[in-house]
Amino acid sequence: MNTQSNAVPDSPLGAQGIAPAAMSVTRPMYWSVRRELWENRSIYIAPLAVAGFALVGFLIATIGRSLSTPDLAERRTILEEPYSFATALIMGAATIVALFYCLEALHGERRDRSILFWKSLPVSDLTTVLSKASIPFVILPGLAFVVTVATNLIMLLLSTAVLKGSGLSAAALWAQLWLFQMQLLYHLVTVHVLWYAPIYAWLLLVSGWARRAAFLWAGLPPLAIFIIEKLAFNTSHFAALLRYRFTGPEEFDFTEPGSSFALHPMMHLNLGKFLSTPGLWTGLLVAAIFLAAAVRLRRYQGPI
């Protein structure tokens, strides 16, 4: 059957003179990431708020405490203390935001039906999922790093002022700090991005798949596997696998007690050793599979 009537002649092809619109691949990606930042302002508000909190705490507690002690050596020790603590706070905030973000990323758009709007635009599912994955993999670690460096710098400037006022040199502190920042960056990339990648990818997949209670679905399958394995074989390889993923390879577990900047046992792990850990590569492979599944899933998903 045909809906055509004789009244309307067919318009010639390309009557509007639309040239094939050229648009680079990066533009939809760029705007999709911006879109995520518009929607989830906690991505930058949370690390900044924690940094502000840490600075206020530093100003009141640390500076106050160091000034109240007459012992100059102790004063220096007190001032050296809070860097790793402040850093851990900011990183912790970024990690928590990343976890919650991932669980919501592909779920919220289906719940509020806005997926119908996003899908009405020429943005592929791959671009959408990658833009969402970029938040825990690129944006949050990058942001955490910048905020941490800025916070540490401010703290360092304040400490320097106090030390200078007491006639002490802050040079050692500065030297230590630059090293610390490099270690932090290294830690962020190796642990938070590369090692934890399958965790974030899993959460993204769950958020794209669960119809409700994504939080439960993220935890229930691993729990179920653990229980079934325990009952069927009385082993707990799966639990060991998960623990390994969360804590990192045990052979790297060496802490350097001397450093006041020690953040995490994995901070000082050897790059060669890290790159030759099979767990890293299987983890990345699993993450890639989860993300590919999330992309595929989004093609089929409508509002819930």
Partner: protein, 291 residues
Amino acid sequence: MKVIEARGLRKAFGATIALDGVNLEVDEGRILGLIGPNGAGKSTALNAILGLTPYQGELRVLGRDPWSERDQLMRDVCFIADVAVLPRWMRVSQALDYVAGVHPRFDRAKAEGFLAKTDIRHASKVRELSKGMVTQLHLALVMAIDARLLVLDEPTLGLDLLYRKQFYDSLLNDYFDRSRTIVVTTHQVEDVQHVLTDLMFINRGRIVLACSMEEFESRYLELTVRPEHVAAARALKPIHEHQVLGRSILLFDHADRQQLAALGDVRTPGIADLFVAVLGNKVGQAQGVVQ
């Protein structure tokens, strides 16, 4: 130029068959109304056309396979699926920025021009707008996209009469031209009767009637019969009969206008009346049935 071509389009959800071998062709420059009861398969058909759902059978939209090429297709196709799918957290200015950012054929100045005629402020969030205003915003975004096919799935659901009228008026006056094509589904058929160029009824996953509006107007006649002529009118084999305020109203397909005029008042039926006649009536199966 065929904008949509479907042959043997099928889609089943478990045991429920949503589309049961639909064939359809839509030419450029048409405004097609896809009318059907709830669960008839309208939305499924549109979702298949928009690449939102996989399907069996052959389907080409602007020469593309919508399921495998959705993102490419969306450069030339726009859709408003239901009211209120704009994200509630978004600001109007952000919506403009985003669409301008990702859509190569979006004319931002045009969209701002449409918005200037409304009470919508750029700083407002979607959640602060009334349902009617959200629809206005969505329409402004969509009309500023130089697309070849616009698909509207219940675009005015839950809107008051004024917004509905405004919606179709601006669509016709500010958007539609002979090189664009519009497919619309709605339950408010009286709103679109004078907007459509083509009409299609769909029921239980099958197309039960398809005609142009010219054909519709020349083919179907509604007779409000005078009581003394009821028997004579019935002898002419109406496809449907119902009573309003004690008077019989008969619907005819391919009847002679002069002949009917002698029996009572003749006029063109509303789409809703024909819909009831075709779908609510077994006789309907014999009339204008496709497939």
